[in-house]
């Protein structure tokens, strides 16, 4: 018998982007926070859809930042920038996704969006051009 833990990822809106493998990606996370003043972590990781998982993480792209959340008795909108996510570990292909998660808060909530990132190769695709022919 196999016990599988399924974690729910809430899907949220996000723009699409094309990046090269040698570039880094940045994102702005728009959120609301309600609770006591707290130092928490926000993390982001590039994902790909596989047969087994909708959000299969590509670990080398992971980036986490600390966020100082002020005390707020009601949900207050705010944002945090996560910069410099390396894409070198991604194969050149379309339809990568992204997952954002929070640590040190109530549970480990996760949010994501699918098919929003295309990674292009830095090496130009080989191209053969025939310029002339000589018959002998």
């Amino acid at each position: 018998m196999v016990n599988e833990i399924v974690r729910l990822v809430s899907q949220i809106p996000c723009n699409s982007i094309i990046k090269k493998q040698n570039q880094t990606m940045s994102l702005r996370v728009n959120y609301t926070y309600q609770g006591p003043a707290k130092r928490a972590r926000l993390g982001a990781v590039v994902t790909q859809e596989t047969f087994y998982q909708e959000f299969d993480e590509i670990g080398s792209t992971r980036k986490e930042v600390y966020v100082n959340l002020p005390e707020s008795p009601t949900p207050v909108p705010s944002y945090t920038n996560i910069t410099g996510m390396p894409l070198a570990g991604c194969d050149p292909k379309p339809d990568y996704g992204l997952k954002v998660y929070a640590l040190d808060l109530d549970g480990k909530p996760e949010w994501g969006c699918k098919g929003i990132l295309t990674v292009e190769s830095v090496i130009a695709a080989p191209e053969l051009q025939v310029t002339s022919l000589s018959v002998s």
């Binding site: 996000c14 006591p36 929070a102 808060l105």
Partner: protein
């Protein structure tokens, strides 16, 4: 003992809240005056009785936090920092005999405030809700 208990009048101007959080510091403010005389008692203590919910009634921890009354006015401030979760009962007591503290408890007690009850729990966790992402 009853007679001694009426020598000092203790008035609490800033009592403890009904609920608190572990490792937070709370201040008890008030004044302690020797009746029929100007002046203040030499020693003021907060007698802290703590009971953890899973222990029997008799398993009660007692500790003392010292306050420093201002001469003439008798105003005092005592800091209370609960280290454990549980139900606390805090009473401010005045005594002329500091040497007995805290080995054998307060004796004799020359004044006592009303009991302040405070339920101490863990710090509440915050709730974050990511609304959208903007990639760049």
């Amino acid at each position: 003992m009853t007679e001694l208990g009426e020598i000092v009048a203790i008035e609490i101007t800033e009592p403890l809240p009904a609920a608190g959080v572990v490792a937070s510091t709370y201040k008890i403010k008030g004044s302690a005056k020797v009746l029929k005389k100007v002046g203040s008692p030499p020693w003021v203590y907060a007698e802290v009785r703590m009971k953890e919910w899973y222990k029997p009634e008799i398993a009660e921890e007692v500790s003392y936090e010292r306050g420093f009354p201002v001469p003439i006015t008798g105003d005092f401030s005592i800091e209370f920092k609960p280290e454990k979760e549980g139900d606390y009962e805090v009473t401010v007591v005045a005594t002329p005999a500091p040497l007995s503290l805290p080995v054998i408890g307060l004796f004799p007690t020359t004044g006592k405030s009303d009991v302040m009850k405070i339920a101490v729990g863990k710090a509440p966790l915050g709730i974050i809700n990511v609304k959208s992402l903007a990639l760049s």
